[in-house]
Symmetry: C2
Subunit: 413 residues, 2 copies
């Protein structure tokens, strides 16, 4: 009797191809330091997992449990995350003259950001592997999500954040009982505390693409997009890129779905994947346009109001650039002022309260339409990675009018 | 050919029973000022709507569209709200010694609170009826939700809030382009501005249970609980009660589902409905225990940190008290200090970041267990009405440690 929910077989290094055992804790490849990717028994999956099973399953990313790494149901640490809405934005679509425009809205998820996807899977797997302490560097949201799922799993969690991270994410860690430390620097500075501390403290490191399972959680973005669009993918997906796990994860999902044979058309047309970054921190955009295979050095003086894409030296840059190129995509940078303006416009025009990273995708889209890289007949999906509610600092209340209660009888607007 | 999605027939006054036409804008009964409830063609529904249709439908509250009032699909103003997770809280359950304990988590919804349920339906119907301007008094979250759905519908929205409402909700209104006015007083003071201003300003009033459709949106809480528990309801539902629309709405849902014959057992056992309020504003608790049919006067000096349940004189008190009694339920008040403690405990123990109103249900539950009103063998559902992310003011970061980046080589926790 096979009791495992998961069809996982092994981990494989994306650099040198070496295989690793998924039944013990793994980080990166011990030979070439490449990121490890989970692989699944696709023959078994083709026989025993079908898309017809999905409608009756839970409305969370765990509906794809066969293609996720957790073996025992009792190890799943879930808050009902995922299967987030794909929302039409008709006013914006009309303004831009597009035919089909959608937002995948990961603001509607536990912790309010897409980081929950990675963390529900990583922490579940950590629980399954008997890990008792985790640590990570985070621009804020990953820390909040790690703290949340760790609290639920009874795992001790240590978070290192830049001291200008959104206060909402600090409070989230605090309420979840995590150990929170601030660092006067960037996420790359915060990361050094984890790297230097993990051995003596006995921490398992959860930082982006340095453990194999956050990307498995993130790949459910791709599964959901496929299912929610009835197995016909959009022409273009615009994605705000920091560490790049989501981009890489979605591409992994599309490849798995192709192997499963779940797409409607036999010759499956996968989307062109677009990375959006801020002009203040655009290492992917620069490396892409310079034709580099990887990012060779940190982007200097990195600064942007969108903390989630302020990653000057992403660990998995080779993977990110490979996906963009393989998909026929591109990378585009936009000004922070365009981010702020896009946040406001998505609210006023279409009632979406997005995070700055999500807003960046609209600014990127406008640039790509202007450049005629996107045609107006194409089906475009913007990925919103989180709720605007976590970015109170970016909204300034001006010209607010306060009445005394006595004025109600006799007021005039 | 019947093009209508909805099986709505008419509106009926809950006080005197008079019928009203749902095809024109209605507020309350023009004779007795009673709340109007929508009624549906249950014979048609029994023939043409079945629970077997649901699994293939959208994972939002619009999956129950036949039992919602909007006739044309093009009028639905949606952000994918509803079908929120029901989450186990195992650490809390064990601590309390209960057999089955769940949280219905309306933190995972557009705008971050259950107010979206009422507003997606009310604003969709307003759009269908050609309404161009809406106004309401709100403790914060209803205003944010009204602003959000109005922006999406292209309806002008006027919100009056107490000036001590959560800043997050003010910013939400602002980002959504609503007209926001603060009032130095309670929600009842803010309401006077709407009442006095609506005629000369041409506003349609959206305040709780003064228009007929927010309660229709809220009733989907009941539909979802029934579906997600596979048509077997919990023994007890604990609900934080302010205006009471959710409580009244759930009960309406259970009655409709009974008429539809969707419950598993023929003799359907409906839950005992419990209202939780703060000792600082407990008009329902007081009226219930005094055996009153309605609340006769405002609760004096109303104060609680949970703004959503700081409603000193709920409009639909007769309905609220009727539901509690009919269901065999009760009403319980708890201290604000217990609310703060419960917020923290739900985070640390089970990874749930709830709003103070949601936290109040845990404090209420503990009291009811102590009083032996709830038995340990019972299946209990707590309703969390929103995310803790909107209540930054309630979390104080203390003892936070900041490192300089140089310290990474040589730090010790």
């Amino acid at each position: 009797m096979d009791e495992s929910l998961s069809f996982i077989v092994e981990l494989r290094c994306t650099g040198c191809g070496r295989a690793y055992d998924p039944n013990v804790a793994q980080t990166v490849c011990t030979y070439c330091f490449g990121t490890l990717f989970a692989s699944y028994d696709m023959e078994k999956a083709k026989q025993r997992f079908s898309k017809e099973l999905l409608p009756k399953r839970v409305a969370s990313l765990w509906r794809y449990r066969e293609m996720l790494p957790v073996r025992q149901e009792s190890n799943i640490v879930t808050l009902g995350e995922g299967f987030t809405p794909i929302t039409k934005i008709e006013s914006t679509r009309e303004r831009l003259g597009l035919k089909q425009l959608f937002v995948k809205d990961d603001g509607i998820i536990p912790t309010g950001t897409f980081k929950s996807r990675g963390m529900t899977v990583a922490i579940s797997k950590a629980k399954e592997l008997g890990i008792r302490k985790v640590a990570l560097a985070s621009a804020g949201n990953a820390g909040g999500a790690a703290a949340t799922y760790s609290a639920r799993a009874g795992i001790e969690c240590f978070v290192f954040m830049p001291n200008d991270a959104p206060e909402s994410t600090m409070k989230e860690c605090y309420q979840m009982g995590a150990h929170l430390y601030l660092v006067d620097g960037l996420i790359s500075d915060a990361a050094k505390f984890v790297i230097n501390g993990k051995e003596k403290s006995g921490w398992f490191e959860l930082s982006t693409l340095k453990e194999p399972y956050r990307v498995e959680g993130k790949k459910t973005m791709g599964y959901e997009i496929a299912e929610q669009f009835d197995w016909e993918l959009p022409d273009v997906i615009i994605y705000p890129t920091g560490g790049g796990t989501g981009l890489v994860g979605m591409w992994k999902a599309f490849n798995e779905l192709e192997q499963l044979g779940w797409f409607e058309t036999s010759e499956s047309k996968k989307p062109r994947m677009v990375s959006v970054q801020s002009t203040g921190c655009a290492p992917v955009v620069r490396a892409f346009h310079e034709g580099k295979k990887s990012i060779e050095q940190p982007f200097e003086n990195a600064r942007t109001i969108a903390g989630g894409i302020r990653v000057p030296f992403p660990y998995a840059s080779e993977q990110i650039l490979k996906v963009i190129r393989e998909s026929g995509g591109t990378a585009v940078d936009i000004e922070d002022s365009a981010i702020i303006k896009s946040m406001e416009m998505l609210g006023r025009d279409d009632g979406l309260y997005v995070c700055p990273e999500g807003a960046a995708t609209l600014a990127g889209l406008e640039k790509l339409i202007e450049d005629k890289w996107i045609e107006k007949s194409e089906k475009v999906l913007m990925y919103n990675t989180g709720t605007g509610l976590k970015y109170a600092e970016l909204v300034r209340l001006t010209k607010l009018k306060t009445f005394s209660k006595e004025e109600s009888s006799n007021f005039d607007l």
